[in-house]
């Protein structure tokens, strides 16, 4: 299969700004162009927009506002893993020969309709994500004898790491006590256990192997892709203490890249809520079932930024359609050794884990320099 690489990127600061979705899309696209002096508008064959926003025809709108007349233009929506799914669509166009250069642009507003899956009536009146997160947390704590105090390390670590990310929503570090004493949303979830909806945009430029080199001296290659959707409804999950779709997607991604989890130097995992980080690490194979918090505690106490160096979703904020792209940009920067204070030393192989709707769908990417 021909190689597909990441040739450039652009990202906005994540905020609570009341900006129009079109403006957020345009801002990150402008930054991408600013970062790509050799990129001309005519180079772009496809423009794919990733968002849960209800506005229509956004890829054509972004194209017009950016002066691009692409062959292919459309949106991708799949709740929280829209971003990586849009990247996989771009990859597919390039590897199929339908496009040579694809602009993928993700954006969301703080008030995104993508937070609630109205269709999933098996959740009854408990449709807000805090309820599936509470069920996951309760189930995980019981099965592996983990406490709220232990899980609180996740937001403490990720807010700490996000202080080195100039685009992060979080501007504060928190102590374990701050997390434990933050507003109790349910018996099993506190405010600081949650990633926060926000306004933000992230754009990435994908290109075929030869074309990539026109735009950058340090292309990052997408060498592994794994995707799995087990259901749409939260209650269909087989277990509530692990992520089945993640485990399957990771197996596919490692198989495609001919790598395994021990090769991974740095990873962005989908910590929508505290409990998601240990669960994701276990389902991706970084550690045994129930041992995720041991790994996270060790990373935190040694100031090792291997997992969620930009601060994850909890530290950076979660503009739904932009998240998977922002995660991929972070791993790109890590592999290009341009992540400044967040840099994981000598990172050669990276992983992105992006999931939707209580892990009913997962996308895993393996990236290499």
């Amino acid at each position: 299969m021909p190689k597909v690489g990441i040739a450039s990127y652009g990202i906005t600061k994540f905020s609570k700004d009341d900006s129009k979705i079109e403006s957020v899309l345009l801002q990150s696209t402008k930054k991408l162009f600013d970062n790509s002096p050799n990129l001309s508008r005519n180079d772009i064959d496809a423009v794919i927009v990733s968002t849960n926003n209800n506005s229509k025809y956004l890829s054509a709108i972004l194209s017009e506002m950016s002066g691009i007349e692409p062959k292919i233009a459309h949106s991708v929506e799949s709740l929280c893993n829209s971003g990586t799914n849009a990247i996989v669509s771009a990859y597919s166009y390039i590897s199929a020969g339908l496009a040579d250069v694809v602009l993928v642009c993700g954006a969301e507003r703080y008030d995104s309709p993508g937070q609630i899956l109205e269709w999933d009536n098996s959740r009854g009146e408990f449709k807000h994500p805090i309820f599936w997160a509470s069920i996951f947390t309760k189930s995980y704590k019981r099965e592996f004898s983990v406490t709220d105090e232990e899980l609180a390390i996740v937001p403490v670590k990720n807010h700490k790491q996000s202080q080195n990310n100039p685009n992060a929503l979080s501007e504060k570090i928190y102590s374990l006590d701050d997390v434990i004493n933050s507003k109790k949303l349910t018996d099993d979830l506190r405010l600081h256990d949650c990633s926060r909806p926000c306004t933000g945009g992230a754009s990435i430029l994908l290109a075929s192997e030869n074309t990539c080199k026109k735009f950058t001296d340090n292309p990052i290659w997408i060498t592994g892709i794994g995707q799995k959707t087990t259901s749409a409804g939260f209650t269909k999950n087989i277990t509530f203490s692990s992520m089945e779709s993640t485990q399957i997607a990771a197996t596919s991604a490692f198989q495609m890249s001919k790598r395994n989890v021990t090769d991974v130097d740095v990873a962005e995992v989908h910590d929508a809520f505290s409990v998601c980080e240990p669960m994701a690490l276990e389902s991706l194979g970084f550690t045994d079932k129930g041992k995720g918090m041991d790994m996270i505690r060790e990373l935190h106490t040694t100031d090792n930024f291997k997992i969620n160096p930009r601060g994850g979703l909890i530290g950076t904020g979660h503009p739904i359609g932009a998240t998977g792209i922002a995660q991929t940009i972070e791993i790109t920067q890590q592999l290009q050794s341009s992540a400044n204070k967040r840099q994981v030393k000598n990172a050669k192989i990276g992983l992105v884990h992006n999931m939707s709707a209580a892990a009913t769908s997962s996308t895993v990417l393996v990236l290499e320099r």
């Binding site: 959740r123 408990f126 449709k127 069920i135």
Partner: protein
């Protein structure tokens, strides 16, 4: 029959595929295995608690009915435990969302 309109009247009905001998959940007019039309029957109101948590003073739980259907509902009174037998006390539709009130047995 229609699941939503029956639930609005407080009736919990179940879609079943006679051909595949399986319950179809979430409720649908077609079997998700063979696409034949489902038949409807009165559902059991009894199930067991898979998991639960609490918001303010109200417990909410994930309940499994007929070893298949899983729904989330509010527990009317008492302190739940996992695996506990429960029944649907009341059901309906409110603000376009299904609504289940669960009581401990």
């Amino acid at each position: 029959m229609n699941f939503d309109s029956e639930l609005e009247k407080g009736n919990f009905i179940i879609a079943e595929c006679i051909h595949c001998k399986k319950i179809v959940w979430p409720p649908s007019e077609f079997c998700n295995k063979c696409f034949r039309e489902v038949s409807w029957r009165k559902g059991s109101h009894e199930g067991k608690i898979i998991e639960f948590s609490r918001q303010n003073d109200a417990y909410f739980c994930l309940v499994e009915i007929e070893n298949n259907i899983r729904i989330m509902g509010k527990i009317s009174k008492g302190i739940p435990i996992t695996g506990q037998q429960v029944k649907i006390e009341k059901c309906g539709v409110k603000d376009k969302s299904y609504n289940f009130e669960i009581s401990l047995m």
